[in-house]
């Protein structure tokens, strides 16, 4: 059984379509990055998965309907919405008491073990902690819950770089295993490129790209070419082109790797570069790509 399965998932706010017939499937043991600009529908999708909003269409999370059985679902699902949701008046010991009191899968010893490695004291109130420490606390609570799905919505927003890096290291080392799944949305895509097993781009409520990281690495190639090689490279049908230090960097989808290698060094693009290529070009970036229609792999609203 898939961890999350959605068919024709749709959500509108008045006349604004936040999710437009989204189909998606997340298998167990995956770490999915949901990437999109602000207002693309990321949070709406996560809120629907977490049972926080009603929706149209079919959606099953761990075999349950999230809207009608949120409280049962939350035994198996954890989420960190962002760093600011732990109540400010709460003491650390109270947070432990409460979660231990209501959650059948919470291991208090484990949470205390994680907290013992920080400067957080049980008597501290959340409002006395720094933003990074609040994240440590929330993560310690969540990692002590034996859940099947963890949903992270911009979990590192507003944290400095050390906390951000260590946040993901900790998740991978102390938490993630093949029986759990993680969905994460973030704007800091470069930090999670090595973490993800799957990648999804979303824009205007539609899924623009849905692939595993193996597929991503096999399909997308980036070549930096000298000006004299640009026409030859363009002939191979790049999906995007940009200029760096007088050289052109061309991004290809499913091109002939050997041919590309004759034009320059081939490497895997960053998620951010692919994102720009797929989602359209900001004004100050490269000249428009003069080559044909977008490749067929990038289908609006597509799914596997």
């Amino acid at each position: 059984m898939a961890c999350i399965e959605a068919r024709g998932l749709r959500k509108t706010y008045g006349s604004k379509v936040a999710l437009d017939s989204v189909n998606l499937r997340v298998e167990d043991g995956r770490i999915l990055g949901l990437i999109g600009p602000n207002g693309a529908g990321k949070s709406t999708a996560l809120n629907a998965i977490l049972g926080l909003i009603p929706y149209e269409g079919e959606l099953t999370v761990l075999g349950r309907n999230p809207w009608t059985s949120r409280d049962q679902l939350m035994r198996d699902v954890c989420f960190i919405a962002d760093v600011a949701v732990l109540p400010r008046w709460m003491r650390v010991s109270q947070a432990l008491d409460f979660v231990a009191g209501v959650h059948p899968r919470f291991d208090r010893k484990k949470a205390e073990y994680f907290l013992a490695r920080t400067d957080i004291k049980p008597k501290n109130r959340v409002k006395e902690l720094s933003k990074g420490m609040v994240t440590q606390l929330h993560l310690a609570l969540v990692m002590a819950i034996d859940a099947k799905l963890l949903v992270l919505d911009e979990p590192t927003l507003g944290l400095d770089i050390l906390y951000r890096k260590q946040f993901y290291d900790s998740l991978l080392n102390d938490y993630f295993d093949r029986n759990r799944s993680i969905i994460v949305t973030t704007h800091q895509v470069e930090e999670i490129q090595q973490v993800l097993t799957d990648l999804m781009f979303i824009n205007h409520g539609r899924i623009m790209l849905d692939c595993s990281m193996e597929e991503f690495e096999a399909r997308y190639m980036e070549v930096m070419v000298l000006p004299e090689n640009v026409p030859a490279a363009r002939a191979l049908g790049p999906i995007h082109e940009r200029q760096v230090f007088g050289r052109s960097i061309l991004l290809f989808d499913r091109a002939d790797r050997q041919k590309l290698a004759t034009l320059g060094e081939v490497h895997t693009p960053s998620i951010a570069d692919l994102f720009v290529a797929v989602m359209g070009t900001p004004a100050q970036a490269a000249p428009p790509v003069p080559y044909g229609t977008p490749p067929p792999v990038i289908l609006p609203g597509a799914s596997r």
């Binding site: 049972g51 949120r70 409280d71 954890c78 949701v85 109540p87 009191g101």
Partner: protein, 318 residues
């Protein structure tokens, strides 16, 4: 951020795996069965400490003023002894009855303001996203909030009043004893067990009678984006004004005002009885339970609560 914090962060977030006894323990076997309702009530008390601090603080003030006037006690006692039996009893009972009234009114106000913030505060500070990330249903959460004005506050009120009255009586005995006077009238003329029983009955019936009021305040708290107090007051006021203009009548406002008076429905008070101490014979549970207004009120409260639970499901943080 300090280096110490960074180091600690590195340790938490770093490579060190948890010790095997922690991981290999039995994470699947909870130590105790979950008690979402109990812990939801506890959490309300953690957040809203005024629920017990306000009655205790006012109780403390009452005791202080009682002590400050303790020097006059022998004189008042002598004045009371000169009165007729009924008036003597009233004179002696007055401080005790006033104490109970003040604490009860303070507790009611605390309960009202608690309700107005109960579902608004968690949306305002976005902590509702944390509460909703845990396996506690909206039904449990709302019922826990309702139990504060209906169970917890009356219980605190009862204990506070009885304790205060007891302390006041012991203090009176000591003061009178130091002045070489007998405190016997304080004990015989002010019957504490009977007063406590009447108080308990009044608090229980009042909590039930007020259910639609608490339900309304919780509903506004779940619905309004801001100014919960103004909405809670001005919507009923608006209905009353519309009724006055359109129908030239005042039934709605009379009905609402009447519903703030639970005593009339729960007691058979004899208007000719001048005693400040309500006799046990005035307790009228049969009349209370037979009152249609009680049952209509409870039905309205149930509707308000249903709407509140639905709003908690649908509404997003503010």
């Amino acid at each position: 951020m300090s280096d110490a914090t960074n180091n600690a962060m590195g340790n938490l977030m770093g490579n060190a795996a948890p010790p095997s006894n922690v991981v290999a323990g039995s994470p699947h076997a909870p130590a105790t069965t979950p008690q979402p309702f109990y812990w939801s009530v506890r959490r309300e008390l953690w957040e809203n400490r005024s629920i017990y601090i306000a009655p205790l603080a006012v109780g403390g003030l009452i005791l202080l003023s009682f002590l400050a006037r303790a020097a006059h006690l022998p004189a008042r006692m002598r004045a009371a002894e000169a009165l007729e039996a009924a008036e003597q009893s009233n004179a002696l009972a007055m401080p005790y009855v006033f104490t109970a009234l003040i604490i009860a009114v303070v507790a009611l106000i605390v309960g009202f303001f608690y309700c107005l913030d109960a579902l608004h505060g968690e949306r305002r500070d976005r902590s509702i996203l944390f509460w909703k990330s845990l396996p506690v249903s909206d039904l449990t959460a709302v019922l826990a909030k309702l139990s504060i004005p209906m169970l917890v506050v009356p219980a605190i009120t009862f204990v506070t009043i009885v304790a205060l009255q007891l302390i006041m009586r012991v203090l009176s005995t000591i003061v009178l004893g130091l002045n070489g006077m007998s405190a016997a009238p304080v004990w015989t003329q002010v019957p504490l067990p009977q007063m406590s029983l009447v108080l308990l009955y009044a608090l229980v019936t009042n909590a039930i009678w007020y259910a639609p009021i608490y339900g309304w305040l919780l509903l506004v708290s779940a619905w309004a984006r801001r100014n919960t107090f103004l909405w809670a007051v001005f919507i009923p006021l608006g209905i009353a004004i519309v009724e006055a203009i359109v129908l030239h009548s005042g039934h709605f406002i009379k009905m609402v005002a009447h519903h703030f008076n639970s005593i009339e429905s729960a007691f058979n008070l004899d208007p000719d009885n001048g005693s400040m101490i309500t006799p046990l014979s005035a307790v009228a549970p049969g009349k209370f339970l037979a009152s249609p207004e009680l049952w209509i009120g409870l039905a309205v409260a149930a509707a308000f609560l249903y709407a509140t639970i639905q709003l908690r499901r649908y509404r997003q943080p503010i």
